[in-house]
Symmetry: D2
Subunit: 495 residues, 4 copies
């Protein structure tokens, strides 16, 4: 799937339109990073966040503690835009720090909703950074408001903050445990107090969270690529339902925070989200994706001359497809590395032309060829339709679309922003109808079994995944009120 999926062209009421194209279209989430025990904790966190930048480009923030006070800096934009002054990092003094990159899953996109959030309370100052989504945040927020609580943001992280502070427990750890036993969903949560760093993962382990070691320091991060970037060693996954608490002297303690349920890590991390150089649940993302491509070639062969992948996220799968099928892999689409998130579009350029700013087909490679175009997924289908048209325009004789995951048909309720279900091209459509919609000569998706097999072939084990977006089998029950939410999300013109 193209990293810059559908180009939403919000034409302004004057002559030049601004084309906004969210980096990952309707599919986004967040990334977290934390470190305990480093004299430049904020600086290391800054680099960790750069490594996790693909998980959220909307806002970035860091909170550090020197053992006595918490200091925060956050802002809208990329990590390097928010932290563009050495003086800014200098102010974030201390040996403990947590950081966050965000793409909104709950709450609208503005500074008030940027994370971490920092609160003062009877438990002292607390900062929270959260990747995921609580399915019952709304009713709990209602209950808390009924009890007199006030909210400054619209993110569910603030609900967690209230629950933690209200817990009448001796220790912060017990309070956190008390709090998360009242909520349900998928989450990876970091909590910073004056002298502790706490990390918790949801009982199904839906959202990723990992533990690493940098010299004498403990680090936690959404993905192992952040460890590589700061020079840390991967230690292990935080277990589903586990709470890790790191305190004075770097002492680390593990507790069962929530009774662990069956592990159900999010499959979409393996398909698209995580960086190809990250390891999740013991496997490397690039390798898994290549294997998915191989499996796809076995399940859905094609009579074709070349295999092309949509850059950047589908290159791994495309090379796997090529190797297995024996059809030569070719670089057929060139991506402009300098396209900013927004750019100005002359009104006379057709909207389709906007895609050409980002991706250019290599006519000499494509002309007269029967092309297998491998993408990792199709969400709204708009980009796929444009891509097929682009290839045909560049002379492709046939375009056979192959998707290295099953049809994406259901909203995610655990932290991925695809709740506008009605926009999903596969929602209520058979594969043939989708093929017609995007204009390909043929279209095949990888089967659910094939996908699991591809991951399993690497994990040497039969552990489960959250496959809700493909199968509607939700590991955490979705409450009634979410229907309302999904409905709201689906209304027209809401962005």
């Amino acid at each position: 799937m193209d990293d810059h999926r559908d180009l939403a062209l919000a034409m302004r009421p004057y002559r030049w339109g601004i084309a906004t194209h969210p980096d990952k279209g309707p599919i986004d989430e967040c990334g977290v990073f934390g470190i305990y025990g480093h004299p430049e904790a904020a600086g290391i966190t800054h680099h960790g966040l750069i490594a996790l930048q693909h998980r959220g480009q909307e806002s970035a923030g860091i909170v550090a503690s020197d053992g006595e006070a918490l200091t925060m800096h956050k802002g809208m934009g990329l990590v390097n835009d928010v932290f563009d002054q050495p003086a800014t990092l200098d102010k974030l003094k201390g040996h403990i720090a947590i950081g966050h990159v965000r793409y909104s899953t709950t709450g609208s996109s503005n500074l008030a909703n940027a994370q971490p959030i920092l609160v003062n309370s009877r438990k002292g100052s607390l900062a929270l950074a959260h990747n995921g989504n609580l399915v019952d945040a709304d009713p709990i927020r209602d209950r808390l408001e009924d009890e007199g609580a006030i909210f400054s943001t619209s993110v569910d992280t603030e609900v967690l903050a209230h629950l933690i502070v209200r817990a009448r427990k001796e220790s912060l750890e017990e309070s956190v445990i008390h709090a998360i036993n009242q909520v349900h969903g998928g989450y990876a949560l970091l909590i910073l107090s004056e002298d502790k760093l706490i990390a918790v993962r949801d009982p199904h382990g839906i959202r990723p969270l990992q533990l690493g070691r940098l010299g004498d320091c403990w680090v936690v991060a959404s993905e192992s690529c952040a460890f590589d970037t700061v020079g840390a060693e991967f230690v292990r996954e935080v277990a589903p339902g586990e709470l890790l608490s790191i305190s004075k002297g770097g002492v680390i303690r593990s507790k069962t925070a929530v009774k662990a349920a069956e592990a159900r890590p999010c499959m979409f991390e393996f398909i698209y989200f995580a960086r190809p150089d990250s390891q999740l649940e013991g496997v490397n993302m690039h390798a898994v994706r290549k294997e998915m491509g191989r499996e796809l070639a076995r399940e859905a062969p094609a009579e074709a001359d070349i295999v092309i992948g949509v850059p950047d996220s589908s290159i791994s799968a495309a090379t796997g497809y090529a190797e297995e099928s024996g059809i030569p892999y070719e670089v057929g689409l060139i991506k402009n590395r300098y396209i900013a998130r927004t750019f100005i579009l002359p009104s006379q350029l057709k909207r389709e032309a906007a895609l050409k700013l980002k991706l250019n087909p290599l006519r000499k490679v494509i002309e007269g060829k029967r092309v297998v175009l491998v993408d990792d997924s199709i969400v709204r289908g708009t980009t796929s339709r444009h891509l097929v048209a682009l290839l045909r325009e560049a002379g492709a004789r046939e375009v056979h679309m192959r998707i290295s995951s099953p049809p994406y048909r259901n909203a995610c309720h655990y932290g991925i922003d695809t709740t506008r279900v009605k926009d999903l091209v596969a929602k209520g459509r058979e594969v043939d109808a989708i093929r017609d919609e995007i204009g390909a000569d043929s279209l095949n998706y990888l089967s659910v079994d094939g996908m699991i097999k591809a991951v399993g072939a690497r994990t040497d084990g039969g552990h489960s995944f959250c496959l809700a977006c493909f199968t509607a089998d939700y590991p955490v029950p979705v409450l009634e009120n979410v229907d309302k939410f999904a409905f709201e999300g689906g209304k027209d013109g809401d962005d």
Copy 2:
């Protein structure tokens, strides 16, 4: 070759250092774009410059004419930073426009030197945008100064402006011809007057310049990828020594501006500069580079398990090497797409660690393997050394470096900024010594003959190239005073 070559870490005198890493290290040039006859000429030029952004990220500018007056906007930074307001483009009214992206080859990096340059004179208002370098700009500038001319910039484009204005010729075309017959070097030059767009290419055709067609409009650009981006058709190369003049009604006229010498297009455009989706001299860059990889595999085979390319510029060559050698191609280095040109580096992170922010090796792919690492060129060698170390650290058993061009040993004097000859790792070093310098188990370069054969295999013809950087055979004689210039360029600390 890595796009972000050597990381120059200019440590500031306070705690956090700023790591500046010029996108293409010591090798850069410029890009030009022009259009005649479009109601949104500046808007189209804006998109054309985005397509040419890889040719210069230091400054960007556009001048437009509505037939009566020229208006200009230029600034430091990327195209999208300089043109981030629709109102800015709105002010650039008119149906003719030229644009420029720059990385300094002459003159220091500041706004005064950004292009296009705009002057008022007895020939009216003129704007000039220039890619290339004049070898005799300095003595001519001295002569002009002796005659009383004053200069506001330090770019050689201003020398051309003076020569054109001083030419006592009837027409602007004749004046341009008179001017360029007084200079020598490699250049692609666009000139905009109130009602004309003129394009000229040097007599050897060293720097690229092409003609395209967008509906009824003529477009000119450094590379054909800009035509694809704006939806224009490639028409032909501007011929060496040719002047094209487009005026009222879109009438285009061709003249021989300088007696054409043997065509000697710059080989380094084929190796590294031009975007893989561009066509130059009838061949596609990706295809040429892949063929160079194939030829390299034939010339310098390796006993190895996998082939890896340095992203992004060496992927084409690496896949060619893999296909020819039969050794599997693998994605072994993951590039962070969000690294800005400058970022803050905590002082405790070793400098080598800075590379990890940009490139992360895939341990699972590399571990225990004998690796062929394909790069398109080595300039200073620093990045190569770090890359080899990175691969070893990730478990590579052996690292065999293969370069898809010959050793880069001589300064370019025609528009590529590698005049700090002493920094070239291949200057005065045999290949064995370079291999030791970068720490590889083996090192091989593509031969000059192999390189020409690779290009020729695609061009079906034996035409020549400028190979001065490899062979010191300079098609345009380099003046005495350039030694001085090279010497100055080589002094320490001038960054």
Copy 3:
């Protein structure tokens, strides 16, 4: 007193220092503005805030409501910096709005503490804008935290928000009344809900708050100059302890919120804070200050040749002194109108020289003269010392300092930021000692009786004032814990 009191020269650790000079030195507070019923409520509020800019230059913010939802924009800096785009104001839709300009009295200076504050709760969305200080905010905050409340800011306004939301009352008005009966201090508070604008003033009326009328709309503001600026008519003072509620159809209701105590408006508003063109408690500030100057001339005559006032705030008093004494008034100090809040200071310039950037004595006027220098107050004394030296340097034969208010000896606990008691030059010093400290030939302050008489001569009545900063007679008892606060405030290096 000079508007730009003592120049705090925070020298940076590199060659050029940055001289920060807060516009009113250690004495500052806030301003509030609100409007109900105007289609451009945010725009009117914007202009109202510009008129109140002298009350706070640190941050500015506006919240508007269209009857259904509240939208907010706030930021650090002057009103015109925060609202520098028409688009920003366009987003603040609705017919009701409140705005705030701030100089920190509680909480540190950062965006989180900027006002208005906006919260979501069981009472819907509420925005609060507050000028003043609660003496018991800390223990109440402690109690609320004990009960599980969390705080996102360090301003006492958030304490009020909690109390209002927690009140188990039917109406918002009753909730506000319930809340403010739990707190003590000096305050002028505006509250905005989806469909109401509520204004409350503390029971002593310490902080100013006034009601005005703009066509069919109601407006409220700290000072009447804001009414003049937006073209509104002054209606009346909000009474001490009164709550005004404006709702649907512009219906306004008045309630007694707190049992009104003796009216004790802050005398320092009359001496320095309020703009000279504002009316407070029925009198014009310029007229009052001129009368204070007259009274001062009667109490403390001087043998002198000319009278000079410190621009801008002391001009009124100086002209009064001159008229009463018969000594000619002269313009002796010229103020540079373009001095920004921060500027760069070459290291070789002595710190005293920084004052010369701001104020230049008129040698021709001063030379050889015996000068009466009238200032409205002395806080830290540093600027006075520099001014006396400046006049002597310009040739003054004698400098007789006359202050149109009594010695400022005690911290304000009702909204003026002078809690660093130890910095007050008059704290624990007799007038003679102060005179020696500042180097004047003579020094006299206006007596408390004279000051009251001056105001009274205009008010035709003997109503009381808060004179705590002069007499230590605090109308609202100051709690124990404030000592702690004062202590903290007094520690070194907390800048």
Copy 4:
């Protein structure tokens, strides 16, 4: 005259208008400052420019030399905006510097036209900073262009640069002398080379230029207030037609550059431009203006209750009028010190209301009174009309306008931007008609004789002035082509 004369309300095509109000309306010029011999020359120049900020708020720039190379920084905006980073000043190394603040008199308002201008030539690098206007710049520019010169800006300073460089003279001094003998007009010119600072004043001394001494350093500035600000001593006026050259060791040489004509310093400097604390031609501006007010009271007495001055520029004259007439001086108009140059204006606010943002009448002072309103001049009359209306609205019974200079009827061609002659309210109107136009009960101007007498009373001598704007007696003949220029300047909509 109000510093912020007529509010030009350029309504944008969307809901909120932007009100731009140039600080001094149609009347502006420039300021220059230079220093030789100080280790922080750029820093001192920075402070000198802050002192001269009232002479130009459009752009600011400094060029420094360390004896070998010139470095420059300039930008649009106030001095403190352009130089807001210590690092910027740090880069301007050297012991010699010149600086400039600009309001455009020739050339449009953009960065290309900001000064100083810096050129490279056979005479090395030269920087020029210029206050004034050449009446024959256009024909000379035409001639230079005919000879092949090219121009990068539209300011006449570049014409001077060409003339200096073209002069075939041994020394820079001789070249400057050769150049300025070819031009005519009013000018104060600073020229910086690698090792020299040269200052020249026009033969009539129309524009001011003064010499001062700071320790061992020489300083030159447009006004003496800049000397006071940097702690320098005033030495003397640069004589009309004199060239001062300061070189190695601080050696200063004086030459007659142009045969000095009768001294005719610009009278408008005395009336309005120069800061009240500056001395020009031996007299203090405040004192002169006060004397003008006295003379005006003698010439044009009024039956009135109070005298009010328009802040800030007319306060001196108003106090003089009050003292002489015996009518009490009152502060009747309060100016908002925080009004930025541009602000957003809600569309429903009438344009007149914009003035209220800036000036607020003191009703308690004005109500029921017969008011003498003293202003230093009337240019377009719009502000005067609004002011009279404002005073009547505030209850003034009668408004008697008194202007402390004669009617301003003719364009200045020597550096003051009032060439839009048709906008001058006094052009072709008798005083009675002007009175009706502005709506005052009576209107009187100071006579030319009275004005000269007022200045003379202080200068003890009968030297002449340039009075062209009042009398059309132009000391330097205005060329034919200037009519064209004036015509162009007068065309509508050229804002």
